[in-house]
């Protein structure tokens, strides 16, 4: 990063300030490219480009670690960006054209940002300089009916397992009544059930949140959007000893297995690791847990 080289970084006064500013910019996602995906316009004269807001991760269409996807539907209340690039072979004006929503009752535009307001189908029009419609794209706006806490588009989680000191990012996915995910950045509220056990390390109003296990125990994490909410249990486990790979239990009691084990288990590992396991139970658990922390379960 050239921003931080040269005299600025060596200056004790400005160096930390610049580093802080860069960190803030990175955290806010105000620099760097935005994920995008394209779909041809309905008149075949070019492509519409869907872009998630720079607060990457706030939009299900651009979940971290997955390719951006042009959405089938956008959540009512969702904010997004849309551009249009005309086909060089078309007779129309070349390059990027202005995109305008059809009906202000359904979608409005402020600067580069579009906000979907009410359920329905709304056309976005790509306009040339003389207000000729070069192309059309209809978007489907749907009211969210449920929220899922997920690790990815295809991996809902029903319990979060996290170790002390570990940081992890989880997402919320709004869905319609049929379970289809909805795009658009929305204004969520994340809450830790017990901030002494689980801390939220990032802005708690986005579609994703970074959590950190602080102390061993069980708590919850909840996310809400208007009247919709979702809450799942969080189990903060002892930190793994980096030298042995085994977990360092902070209490002196023998733990009971956190899974559905009702036998006389003297396991010191909440996840049945095979290396230190003296488990004598007769259950059919064949876990080969590799301590990935998050345990997924189909919602």
């Amino acid at each position: 990063m050239t921003l931080l080289t040269g005299p600025a970084i060596s200056n004790r006064r400005w160096g930390p300030a610049l580093l802080t500013a860069a960190a803030v910019l990175l955290a806010c996602g105000d620099i760097g490219s935005k994920p995008s995906d394209t779909q041809p316009g309905e008149l075949g004269n070019g492509d519409f480009i869907y872009r998630c807001l720079q607060t990457i991760g706030g939009d299900a269409a651009c979940l971290e670690g997955t390719e951006a996807q042009f959405p089938d539907a956008i959540a009512a209340g969702g904010v997004f960006e849309m551009e249009y690039r005309s086909d060089p072979d078309s007779d129309l004006q070349e390059g990027m054209l202005a995109v305008r929503p059809s009906s202000a009752e359904l979608v409005t535009r402020t600067g580069d940002r579009f906000t979907a307001h009410a359920p329905g189908y709304a056309a976005l029009l790509a306009l040339t300089g003389d207000s000729t419609v070069a192309d059309i794209k209809h978007i489907h706006i749907v009211a969210p009916a449920q929220l899922d806490i997920v690790e990815s588009l295809t991996l809902p989680i029903d319990t979060v397992y996290i170790q002390q000191g570990e940081e992890r990012t989880i997402h919320v996915l709004p869905r319609d009544v049929e379970g289809n995910w909805l795009a658009g950045s929305l204004d969520y509220a994340w809450v830790s059930g017990d901030p002494t056990l689980l801390r939220l390390n990032s802005a708690a109003n986005q579609g994703r949140v970074q959590i950190e296990g602080l102390a061993e125990g069980e708590t919850t994490i909840a996310v809400s959007l208007g009247e919709l909410s979702q809450q799942i249990p969080v189990i903060v486990e002892p930190a793994t000893d980096p030298t042995t790979g085994s977990q360092t239990d902070s209490d002196s009691e023998s733990d009971s297995d956190s899974e559905t084990d009702s036998s006389t288990d003297t396991d010191t590992d909440a996840n049945t690791d095979t290396d230190t396991d003296t488990d004598t139970d007769t259950d059919t658990d064949t876990d080969t847990d590799t301590d990935t922390g998050l345990v997924g379960g189909a919602a």
Partner: protein, 126 residues
């Protein structure tokens, strides 16, 4: 009879006889719409939020056609309910439902309003 007057009447008569006589305008849907759009020579119906590319072809009741030399335009009487944009090609227009209501769409040929087609914008379809 004054020769000049006779010539003028003859010229006017020939010109009228060679011109198309407006009958109606056919509107053909030229783009896919996610919900039904109704188009007929007498009625346009679409939901708010929907944009539909239509091809407008005025029809003559006599043997003379509205060929490409006739300039055709569609114009909404209430652009707050239904707006009309020019489309990519001649005689192509994009009808856009803005909000629920009724209006009419003028068919303008050579800058003269030939008729006004009733238009209804329905509530948005979900």
């Amino acid at each position: 009879m004054n020769v000049r007057l006779a010539f003028a009447i003859l010229t006017l008569g020939l010109a009228t006889a060679c011109s198309p006589r407006y009958d109606h305008t056919t509107l053909t849907l030229g783009s896919p719409a996610p919900v039904p759009v109704q188009l007929s020579p007498a009625q346009i119906q679409l939901p708010a939020g929907i944009a539909a590319l239509v091809v407008a072809e005025p029809q003559s009741s006599n043997a003379n056609l509205y060929d490409e030399y006739y300039e055709v335009e569609l114009r909404s009487q209430d652009p707050g309910v239904l707006d009309v944009y020019p489309g990519p090609q001649e005689r192509e227009f994009v009808l856009v439902g803005l909000r629920e209501g009724t209006t009419c769409v003028e068919v303008v040929i050579q800058r003269d309003v030939a008729e006004c087609i009733a238009a209804t914008v329905r509530a948005p379809e979900q």
